[in-house]
Symmetry: C2
Subunit: 329 residues, 2 copies
C-alpha cells in the first residue's frame, strides 16, 4: 500500500476537528431571510473543495499544542474568505466552470455571486470576532486587504505582455499566499505560540501558497489539467499573465512576440493557437523552468518548519509542498 497523499493524511489526523469545522460552516452559511444564500453556498461548499486552508489552520494550532476552542472558528473563517473570493473571482474571470461543475454565476447570475460573496465575507468576519482575539483579527484584516489588492493588481496587469516575474509574485502573494499564510499564522496565534513559531508558520504558508499557485499555473499548460476539473488552456484563453507565459515571452523571437501580441494582448485567438502556444512553451523549456521555481518555493516552505519539534503533523506539512509540485507534472 502506497503512503496516503499528505493532504489526505492531514484529513485523517484532523478528522474530528474537520467534522466540527464542516458543521460550523453548514450552520453559518445559512440565512433565514434570504433563501438564495444557502442555495448558492451549498453549491460551492458541497462541490467538495479540498478544504486545504482550514486544515492548515487546524494543523498549525495542533503543532502549537492548542487548547483554545476557537481554532474551529478560525478554520471556518478562512474557508469562508476563500469561498467568497472564489465567488467574486468567477464573476471577474467570467468563468463557466469551477471544480468541474458550472460556476454559481452561470447557474444563478453575477448579481448573486457578488452579493453572496459579500455575505460570506461578513459571516467570516462575525466568526473571527467571536474568538475575541484582537491579534487574529488584525492578521485576518490585513490578509483580506492584501488579497483584494492582489486581485486588483492582477486585473490591471491582465493582458499586459510587459508583466515581470516580480509583479507576478506580488499578485500571487496577494491572491493566493496571503490566505495560506494567515491560515497558518492564526493557528499558531490562537494556540499562544512563541513569536519564533508564529513567524515560521507564517513563512511556511506564504511559500506554500506561492508554490501552490505556480503549480496551478503549470497545470494549465501541462496537459494533465483535465483530471483536476480545470479546462486545459483556460489561462491562455483568459489571456492571463501566468508564469509559463511570462517565461516564454522573455525568450520569444520577433514572430513569436507577434503571436503573443495577437493572442494575448489583442485577444484575437483562432483554431490551433493553443497548440502553437504549447509548442513555443516546449521549445524554450518553460515547463521545467517553471517547475524549478515551484520547487524553490516548496523548499523554502519546508525549511520554515524545521524550527518545530518533529511530529507526524509537522512531517505531513513538510511533505505537502512536494506533493503540490508533483501533481503539476
Amino acid at each position: 500500500m502506497s503512503a496516503p497523499k499528505p493532504h489526505d493524511r492531514l484529513g485523517q489526523i484532523l478528522a474530528d476537528e474537520m467534522g466540527a469545522v464542516n458543521e460550523l460552516i453548514q450552520a453559518r452559511m445559512a440565512s433565514e431571510n434570504a433563501p438564495r444564500i444557502p442555495e448558492v453556498t451549498a453549491h460551492l461548499v458541497n462541490a467538495g473543495g479540498k478544504r486545504l486552508r482550514p486544515m492548515l489552520t487546524l494543523a498549525s494550532a495542533a503543532l502549537c499544542n492548542n487548547e483554545s476552542p476557537y481554532h474551529i472558528h478560525l478554520a471556518a473563517t478562512v474557508e469562508f474568505i476563500h469561498t467568497a473570493t472564489l465567488l467574486h473571482d468567477d464573476v471577474v474571470d467570467e468563468s463557466a466552470q469551477r471544480r468541474g461543475r458550472p460556476t454559481a454565476n452561470l447557474l444563478w447570475d453575477n448579481q448573486s455571486s457578488v452579493l453572496v460573496g459579500d455575505y460570506l465575507f461578513s459571516r467570516s468576519f462575525q466568526l473571527m470576532v467571536e474568538t475575541g482575539n484582537m491579534r487574529v483579527l488584525d492578521i485576518l484584516a490585513n490578509a483580506s486587504a492584501t488579497i483584494a489588492e492582489g486581485e486588483v493588481l492582477q486585473l490591471t496587469v491582465a493582458q499586459d505582455l510587459a508583466t515581470t516575474e516580480d509583479t507576478y509574485i506580488k499578485v500571487v502573494r496577494g491572491k493566493t499566499a496571503a490566505l495560506f499564510s494567515a491560515a497558518c499564522k492564526v493557528g499558531g496565534v490562537i494556540a499562544g505560540a512563541d513569536e519564533k513559531i508564529v513567524s515560521a508558520l507564517e513563512s511556511y504558508g506564504d511559500a506554500l501558497g506561492i508554490s501552490f499557485q505556480i503549480a496551478d499555473d503549470l497545470l494549465d499548460y501541462s496537459g494533465h489539467a483535465a483530471t483536476m476539473g480545470k479546462n486545459v488552456g483556460d489561462d491562455f484563453r483568459e489571456r492571463k499573465m501566468s508564469l509559463p507565459l511570462i517565461k516564454a515571452l522573455a525568450q520569444s523571437d520577433a514572430s513569436e512576440l507577434d503571436f503573443w501580441k495577437r493572442t494575448i494582448a489583442k485577444g484575437d485567438q483562432r483554431d490551433g493557437d493553443l497548440e502553437q502556444a504549447l509548442e513555443i512553451i516546449a521549445k524554450y523549456g518553460v515547463i521545467d523552468a517553471t517547475r524549478a521555481d515551484a520547487t524553490f518555493w516548496a523548499e523554502k516552505s519546508k525549511s520554515a518548519l524545521e524550527v518545530l519539534p518533529q511530529s507526524e503533523i509537522r512531517d505531513t506539512l513538510i511533505a505537502l509542498p512536494d506533493y503540490v509540485v508533483s501533481r503539476a507534472v
Copy 2:
C-alpha cells in the same frame, strides 16, 4: 436668512472632526501596489456624497461626551462600508449613473467595481480593528452581514409582484437601516455611553434609515428626482419593488395588474409606460400614503432621542428625519 439644513448644520458643528475623517479616508483608500484602486475610489469619494453616515457616528459620539480618539476611525469605517456597497450595488443594478456622474462600472469595468469594493471592505475592517474595541467590531460585523442579507433578499424579490410591505421593510432594514443604525450605535459605544443611550442611538439610526429609504423611493416617482442627480423613473425601469409600487399594486384593478405584469414582472416596457405608471400611482393617492409611512418612521426616529439631554447636536439630529422626508415631496 433661513435656517441651514440639518445636515449642513451638523457639518458646521463637526467641521474639524469631519476634516480628520476625510484625511483618514484619503490616506486609507490609497494603494501602493494597485494604482487602479485610488483611481476608482477617488472617483467615488470626490463625487461628494453627503457623508451622512460618518457624520452620524461623530454626532452620536459627541452626544455621549466622547473622549476616545477612535470615533474618527469608526466614521471612516462606516463611509468605507457604504462606498463598498455602492460599488457592488452599481454592478448588481447595472447602473450607469450615481450622484449625477457616470458610475465606476461604466468608467472602468464591473471587475474593478467588484474588486475595489472588496478592497474597501477589507480597509474598513482594518480601520475598525485598530480601535481595539471588541464591541464595535461585533456591531459592525453584524451590520455587514445584515446589509449583505438585505441585498440578496432584494435581488430575489426583484420583479416579484407578490412582495409585501413586510418584506420591503426587511430589505430596507438590511440594505439601508443597518448601516445608519450601526453608525449611530458605535458612536455611543466608543464613547462608553450607558446601555439606555446606546440603545436609543441604535433605534434612532434604524428608523432614520427606513424613513430615508422610503423618501428615496418616493423621489423616484415624484418628479423632483432630476435635481438629486438621480434619473426619474429609474426604479420603474429597473423594475424595483419599491414602496410606491407595492402600494399601487395592492389597489390596482385587473387591467392595471396586467400593466404591472407586463412592465415589471416581464420587463416589457414601451414608450409612455412610465407616464401610465405615474397615473396609476396618482389615482390611488400612493404618494401621500408613502409619505405618511416615511413620516411614521421619522417620528419614531425623533422620539428615540428624547432620552438624551438637550443640546444643539441632539436638536439637529432630531430635525434631520423631517428634512429627509421633506426633500422627497
